[in-house]
Symmetry: C2
Subunit: 209 residues, 2 copies
Amino acid sequence: MRLRRGAALGSYEREAVLAVLDAALVAHVGVATPDGPIVLPMAFGRTDEWLYLHGSAANAALRAAVGQDVCVTVTLVDGIIVGRSPFHNSMNYRSAVVRGVARRVDDPDEVVTGLRLVSDHVVATWDTGRTPTDAEMRKTIVVAVPLTESSAKVRLGGPNDEPTDLDGPHWGGRVPIRSVWGPPEPAGDLPAGVDVPADVVALSGQPLR
Amino acid sequence: MRLRRGAALGSYEREAVLAVLDAALVAHVGVATPDGPIVLPMAFGRTDEWLYLHGSAANAALRAAVGQDVCVTVTLVDGIIVGRSPFHNSMNYRSAVVRGVARRVDDPDEVVTGLRLVSDHVVATWDTGRTPTDAEMRKTIVVAVPLTESSAKVRLGGPNDEPTDLDGPHWGGRVPIRSVWGPPEPAGDLPAGVDVPADVVALSGQPLR
């Protein structure tokens, strides 16, 4: 699995991990429970040192994660690879795997930092939205996972076919995926005259990273 | 976590799970190891009863999964939800969670069935590609996870904001994501005159499901 435990993360690999995290919308968070492993999709944010997750104070998966080893995996699929043989079918993708002990964030300033980072991970909305109330904050827990043990893997290019297949009759190549943000769609109950935040407008028509 | 163990899957929920599986390109497979949980992205295929994974016979995660409880999670993000408060930010998504004991597939016919299903999950290439050799088959392991214990979750629509926020100055709505297959790109080493398989051509310009 080529995933190191306890090794310091090299600066090159750190940059690769951070780039994949920044491009992704959701992380798949894995926790071991007495009832078997559980993997759930979650929004996330990051600093250079920590990956932040948030959820309802009643979120069973997050609560199960606190103090435990977790694995947070992020994957972006950029296209499919068609090999001359199905044995060489593959995908082009970028993925990052972060492993570490999840820490419940208790410090009120770090709670706000973590929530802001999750909120603003895809598009900055913390400052343009209504400030969370104390009651909303009490309903929310924030969990941090260290980025120390993490790795990135990126597959680019075309198929890696057998040399003996290259002159054969079978097609090989790739089919890319193009993902673009659509135009913002106001909530059905939005009054007239409320402007779309500039950062949300700016997404429209942009490729996902 | 609303994930049942041992409960029969209702036909409605089964249809929902299968629809999400059919739309997804990769699954995130979680396995508990003595060294903590590990979550890795994998291609997959399915019947109505089994989810199939494949990999190199040297694949440590797949080998660790055999005979163990695993959790296979698939998520498609359809857009982001901007709430009036960041507390109500969310995403529109479709996800399926499958939990069960992973079984190494030994029966040669089922190995071929499983590999074909994985190969053809996104686009059918098993019949148009070169038939796998015995040596390729020996390098590959196939693992099956029962779909018995599975659940699906789909979020649609706009934000679920507080009633007291609806007349406020803050924008709420959603930003959809549009993903489309690009045109097939032949491998750099493909000789002239090899036609692109019709099913691969047919992807081009189509939305991802």
